[in-house]
């Protein structure tokens, strides 16, 4: 019987070690609480979010819960609960809905294609006052018809936004200065 050579064993070990990690799947359907993501994740269906704004501050559909991870939209749509201008947040609101949030995070990425639409305030929220976001990438995402800005950045730095489409946002900002981004 022929014995395996040490080099072949080493090669097998390397191949096993560097095999790409499989992203966690976010299944399509209706969600009524925030989806936290702790690792690379991807949508495998359209998501409808009926997350009630019950917590002070942003109540997100999907929240980055770790640094240096990626969310792939895979061509799917994330839809909130409102159609502007009806039902939109007013500036005095202390609780409000957003699509995707990355707060106190660094090195996270949202990658399209995909659509984020119909949220109570912002489609994407990066950072909050005193809770920065750094080195964020948002790429090839369509952010459409959200009440306030399509994407809001606060205390956000060293980030890159490219090949995105911000369309028909800020249709119900109720006096807040808002827009695409």
């Amino acid at each position: 019987m022929q014995r395996a050579r040490p080099a072949a064993i080493l090669l097998l070990a390397v191949v096993t070690t560097v095999a790409p990690a499989v992203a966690a799947e976010i299944k399509g359907g209706t969600y009524t609480s925030t989806i936290p993501i702790f690792e690379d994740s991807e949508l495998v269906g359209d998501v409808t979010c009926n997350v009630p704004p019950t917590m002070p501050g942003p109540n997100a559909c999907i929240s980055f819960a770790a640094d240096h991870i990626k969310l792939r939209l895979n061509g799917h749509t994330i839809t909130g609960q409102v159609t502007p201008p009806t039902g939109c947040s007013v500036p005095a609101d202390t609780m409000y809905g957003v699509g995707i949030e990355a707060i106190d995070r660094t090195g996270v990425k949202i990658e399209g294609p995909g659509i984020i639409e119909h949220f109570h305030r912002w489609g994407i929220l990066l950072g909050l006052t005193g809770h920065p976001a750094t080195e964020v990438t948002v790429k090839k995402v369509t952010v459409y018809d959200n009440c306030w800005s399509g994407m809001q950045t606060v205390s956000t730095s060293d980030s890159t936004f490219e090949e995105n489409v911000f369309a028909d946002d800020a249709g119900g900002s109720n006096g807040a200065s808002c827009g695409g981004t």
Binding site: S157, D158, F161, S177, C178
Partner: protein
């Protein structure tokens, strides 16, 4: 390239003659950002720079900013309701360079109208003017010291809005600085 189309409402502020809505806005403390190679059209305002004196050091260049606001919005709400570039920052505190734009409202010399750029498709078909190569001044701006922002409604700092081809040049600039 990012595109900003049809964003904002003329009626966001009740009974106002100007709108504070926009395609792309820099508000609060927004400093040292590079906004490059974007298309901004059909919004109430195209690019909006807020007041307060802390929207500074931003470079807005090589963008196509036109059709802001749409004609029907002007008919209904009056011409002052918006502009391609609406600038409430102090004159000279931000740089507008080679943007295709038609209307401007704000302090200082108007950067619009400017229709000089060659808008033939760039090599990636992204309408980037081929003669407008990134220059060292903007590349070095991307390397400025991070400024922490607290208590601001919005802050972009050293943020880059651009087509994807800027990054290799930034890398090359970093290498050359290390030599």
């Amino acid at each position: 390239m990012n595109t900003f189309y049809g964003n904002g409402a003329a009626t966001s502020k009740a009974n106002a003659t100007t709108s504070n809505n926009f395609g792309l806005g820099l508000l609060g403390v927004s400093q040292d950002n590079l906004i490059e190679n974007n298309k901004v059209g059909g919004n109430v305002n195209g690019v909006y720079l807020g007041g307060g004196g802390q929207v500074t050091g931003n470079v807005i260049r090589h963008n196509v900013i036109a059709g802001n606001p749409p004609a029907q919005v002007i008919v209904t709400f009056g011409r002052p309701i918006g502009a391609d570039i609406q600038n409430f920052a102090p004159a000279g505190t931000n740089t507008f360079d080679d943007n295709y734009c038609l209307t401007y409202a704000g302090a200082g010399p108007s950067p619009c109208p400017d229709v000089r750029i060659n808008r033939e498709n760039g090599e990636n078909g992204d309408d980037r003017p081929s003669r407008l190569a990134p220059r060292d001044d903007a590349i070095s701006m991307g390397l400025t010291t991070l400024k922490l922002m607290w208590g601001d409604p919005a802050a972009f700092v050293n943020t880059v809005f651009h087509s994807g081809r800027m990054l290799p040049l930034i890398s090359s600039a970093l290498r050359s600085r290390g030599n």
